[in-house]
Amino acid sequence: MAKRILILLGTKKGVFIAESDAARKKWDIRGPYCETWPIHHAIGDAESGTIYAGGGNEWFGPAVWKSTDLGQTWTHSSEGLAYDAGEEPIKAVWSVAPRNGHLYAGVQPAGLFRSEDQGQTWIHLDGLQKHPTRKDWMPGGAGLILHSLVAHPKDDNQIWVGISSAGVFHTADGGETWEPRNRGTRADFMPEGQNYPEFGQCVHCLVMAPGEPDRLYQQNHCGMYRSDDGGKRWESIEAGLPSTFGFPAATHPRDRETLFLLPLNGDIKGRYVPDAKAAVWRTRDGGQTWQDLRAGLPQENAYFGVLRQAMATDRLDPSGVYFGTSGGVLFASPDEGDSWQPIAEHLPSISSVETMVVER
């Protein structure tokens, strides 16, 4: 059966969709959707074929948009997507994740919501607000944001979240209680001797190896890490990378040892690709060694960044890899990063990249 490959782009001004067939040679771009709202994360639910887009704008606040016809028409809702009166109101939705018929949304200020009716209404899972450390979470430069949402592939009660400048947290009871899981990750910005706190680490992106909840990876503000026990303990895998700083991480759809990163030059050095030469870095051995992939990527005067959710792989074989830049360029590789080409240019700043493969 013929396949359609959709790349879902959350941008500063709406959702765009790039579409191709399985050859992934020619791409059609359509959009913008969602009334050009800033969209932090757009995802496709492979089970239902529904596209969800979470974001918010300066005027009208947060919402999750939804399309059941692959982007042609959209509705939006935020019913229940709110904190109690008197608390700081929700500014925007930053991440959305479907799992077993549920839909999860991570928001700013950091919190987690679940929808049991495909995004129509939302229930606050308030365990993060009640966490004993909550009063000590300090927002980072972009705010206190729950940006990474990793649901256990089989156990609905287990979820990992990444909260900028608060760290990684795990729940085993569906969001009632949460445990910080940051042991082994460094916080360089803390005073000397306090660089390995229980919480307060600035996680930038948290991802799970395909279907394997024990194997997690994170790109952190201060290093790159792997965990082999669901985040209870982290080990640095930054040796061989050009920088300890970056935002996105993307796992291979089938190989737990393969990971893609796009390091940036550093937090106060401009946050663009090192030496203004673009490269995706790939490991095939769980982070022991790294290879820089540059074929087709600009090797001079490249001053873009790539945000935390703006890189993804597809599930074809070989896997496609995609990343979107702060300058509105979408790069694609049909061969697991060996070669690259820009497939869309002049888009608004790209916040997120996800893929969806549908049978025609």
Binding site: E35, E58, W59, A85, E87, I90
Partner: protein, 90 residues
């Protein structure tokens, strides 16, 4: 119908709620009641105009007879209420 008012909605808002008109005639005595009335006709509209502080959203302005209003502001019968989006954003 008592305390009939006219509400003028911005185009960028009615785009979000298919079928909503730019000019709405309704009954309300306060801005808060007006928001509830709008929400009854177009579910979700209150969320777009008010946050949960509760307050009118930071970048939304409500004007009654040329004066900027808050949620608790009373609306005299016959008033024309303008809902405007602030000049902000990027």
């Amino acid at each position: 119908m008592t305390n009939v008012i006219v509400v003028r909605l911005p185009g960028v808002l009615v785009d979000l709620f298919p079928g909503a008109p730019r000019r709405v005639e309704m009954s309300a005595t306060t801005v808060d009641e007006m928001m509830d009335g709008l929400n009854r006709s177009w579910p979700g509209m209150r969320d777009r105009l008010c946050d949960t502080s509760p307050a009118i959203r930071k970048h939304i302005n409500i004007f009654i007879d040329g004066e900027r209003a808050k949620l608790g502001t009373r609306i005299p019968a016959g008033s024309e209420v303008f809902v405007l989006t602030a000049i902000s954003g990027g």
